[in-house]
């Protein structure tokens, strides 16, 4: 497993952990549960894997290409999530909430969008590396 695969696994594990922790705390803390999204700060751990060792190349052009493609997937997924969520929110608020949108819901959207971006980016990276490994 190369350095960027480890970074991708970090992204997947950290985002999944933050979503699971938030969901677990929701019954007890309600909106306060979004504090668990602070676990997304652990994404910086990925930087530990890309430090240069023994003067060898750790990240090369193929890794950068895979990361760029994965980031496009991540941003695209996050954008779609936000777009569809806002549409649903507008329909809901206009039908059931007199056109009012609680700001707390917008806060949830922002955190979930962030998590979605890095989760999809991580998965896209892992799939790209897996395709390369399985290729004959």
């Amino acid at each position: 497993m190369n350095a960027m695969e480890k970074v991708a696994w970090t992204e997947v594990i950290v985002t999944m952990s933050s979503v699971v922790a938030t969901a677990a705390l929701l019954p007890w803390l309600g909106d306060g549960a979004w504090g668990a999204f602070g676990l997304l700060g652990l994404l910086v751990v990925g930087a530990f894997f890309v430090r240069s060792r023994d003067g060898r190349v750790v990240v090369d052009e193929r890794d950068r290409e895979i990361e760029q493609q994965a980031m496009r997937w991540g941003i695209g997924a996050a954008w779609q999530f936000l777009f569809m969520s806002l549409i649903a929110l507008v329909f809901w608020s206009s039908t059931y909430n007199e056109g009012l949108i609680p700001t707390r819901l917008v806060t949830w959207l922002i955190w979930l969008q962030f998590a979605t971006c890095y989760l999809v980016k991580g998965i896209a990276s892992l799939l790209a590396y897996r395709r390369a490994t399985l290729a004959t």
Binding site: N2, R56, V57, D60, E61, A135
Partner: protein, 72 residues
Amino acid sequence: MPRKPEPKLSNRVRELREAAGLTQQALADQVGVTRQTILALEKGSYVPSLALAIRVSRAFDQSVESVFQLDE
């Protein structure tokens, strides 16, 4: 917008590397990439940039066209 299809590129990197008695890591160190990229290159699952293709060809003292072939 539909993606541009990746060109099919075959190569003789593995054959030339083994003939030169190089490990994948040694070749990777020589051309400035990771071992996994050399592995992907040899499997044909990665299309290298022009710069990398030239560096790999120079490592074997061959022309780019003799190392990489475009399958059309």
